[in-house]
Symmetry: C2
């Protein structure tokens, strides 16, 4: 059975029952979006994790890894498992699920790897349960996975992963998620192969900030939301400024200032640290510009002899994608 799940292409309605087995794609996400620390995030079309689900007759969660990351298969120590356990608590005592996970979003890259696991997990199980839970419930369950990953229940990757597009998390307690209709934008992401632990990136932040800096920050987030909703690319670009978090966190990312400068010179509207890093993202109006931004990123990290991966992609508008049973 395990062997069977290692090759998802062998799935067949005949062997497993079409209604009980599904595959989902859980997208990477960019949290914070420069001036929207802890409240904004958006989903991208690449990279994404692939996950396969089937209901089991016995209760609990069984996790099978289809990738090379050797993540824990004990559900209580796995972010997808923790999210599924939180969800099953509100289902019944009999239902169980088996999930096979092929992660393509590298853990620790700063583009919502843990969120893709936990959000993908609850969307997949919900589909097998005939979508009995609404999206806000799914965010609530998936945050249990985020808490396992980073120690904090936060939703700025989870929410865009589940809703798609750009999402505002106005409040966590009570949960208040606002999907923002965003224009189609191209996204260039570079992931330098260094480790920045989320807990370290949080630890270096000052807990007190200057009121005048906070005012500048909320002027920018207001401008960014207006730019997105009014389809004003220039305003989006002007508003992608972070006077509070970026100056502190960017010191953990080699070449950050140069990446940003050359990306803007290549035509990017703007960008910054993805989540708590080390990935850096840039937004562009068109694909050609996004590719020139990618070239600029290569130039910087090649000069620094720093191994890195890049993606040129677009904003994902649908969130976790449930594929038809194969």
């Amino acid at each position: 059975m395990k062997q069977f799940f290692h090759n998802p292409f062998l799935y067949s309605p005949l062997s497993l029952g079409a209604g009980n087995t599904i595959t989902i794609h859980a997208p990477a996400t960019v949290a914070n979006m420069v001036c929207g620390f802890d409240v904004l995030g958006f989903a991208v079309n690449e990279p994404y994790d692939e996950m396969h689900f089937r209901l089991r007759d016995e209760p609990g969660v069984k996790i099978i890894n289809l990738d090379e990351y050797n993540l824990p298969t004990d559900p209580e120590k796995n972010v997808a498992g923790a999210a599924l356990l939180a969800m099953l608590e509100e289902v019944d005592e009999k239902t169980g699920v088996e999930v096979s996970i092929c992660k393509k979003i590298k853990p620790g890259s700063g583009v919502g790897s843990s969120a893709a696991s936990s959000a993908g997990a609850v969307v997949g199980l919900n589909h097998l349960l005939n979508n009995r839970f609404i999206k806000e419930d799914l965010v609530r369950f998936a945050m249990s996975g985020e808490k396992l990953a980073s120690g904090v229940k936060h939703a700025d990757n989870i929410a865009p992963c589940i809703y798609g597009g750009v999402t505002l998390i106005r409040s966590i307690f009570p949960l208040d998620i606002i999907p923002l209709a965003a224009p189609s934008l191209y996204v260039t992401i570079v992931h330098p192969q260094i480790e920045v632990r989320t807990s370290d990136a949080r630890g270096i932040l000052k807990q007190q900030v200057q009121l005048k800096d906070a005012i500048r920050q909320w002027g920018n987030i207001a401008g960014l939301v207006a730019g997105l909703l009014q389809n004003d690319h220039a305003l989006i670009g002007r508003s992608l400024e972070d006077v509070l978090i970026e100056p502190v966190r960017s010191i953990l990312i080699p070449g950050f200032d140069t990446i940003k400068q050359l990306s803007k010179e290549a035509g990017a509207l703007g960008g910054g640290i993805s989540g708590s890093g080390p990935s850096v993202f840039m937004l562009s109006k068109d694909e050609n510009t996004a590719k020139q931004v990618e070239a600029a990123m290569h130039t910087v990290y090649n000069q620094l002899s720093l191994e890195h991966h890049t993606y040129v992609t677009t904003i994902n508008q649908e969130g976790v994608r449930v594929l038809s049973p194969e």
Copy 2:
């Protein structure tokens, strides 16, 4: 001649030349808009100041008061005068203007009385100069009046007074004003007859704030902008929350918490301190609710035996209104 200007109804195209004499209405404005401290503001249809202008052959600014407030007529000590002098510096050395001001917005009430004077002044003169300046220039000139009034160049009353509607001032240096298309909303304002000096209201603010409070604040301003642009009244209401400024400043306003509570019970979406107070504003979806909010405000201040004025009005969408020459 002075006597003539004291009665604006005597204006006549025959005696003064229709092209050279105009009347404007400069609306009151509500700055901050609860969670948008220093960056948001909106104009209302009542109250408004009335001002009359004519070009003079001699340079400089002549100010004539048509009201009972005994404001300085020395242009350098009058906010309208300071704004006009800043503007004339960029015109030529020969042009002069005479302005007769009938203030209906009580100075110190917290609904942009000084901004109405300075914004009205520059819009009026600009009209006589065949609108040679764009609105951003007018904001720049009018800020010289605000600097005289409060010691700080700020635009959160000036900008909505000139542009109308709800405006975001994303940045002062460089100036970046974004008009936000707002749904039609009713506004109830109560002005308790106490004095709150802008400088005092600024002085009691802490210059450092908790990062977690700042995050909550920028989640709210993002929600408010989204609510306005997406015409989502419930979201507007939820976002009208200020965890930083209101808790400090509201202690200067008698009965503030009760006003707010009873207004919400009467159906208001939400509201808070107008500018630096002492006026308090509440937003409502319809006129009937706005009047019930007014009744609640009367109840509170009558119980406190506090003299007060109320307005039930709507958001002013056009800003300073230039009337045809009479």
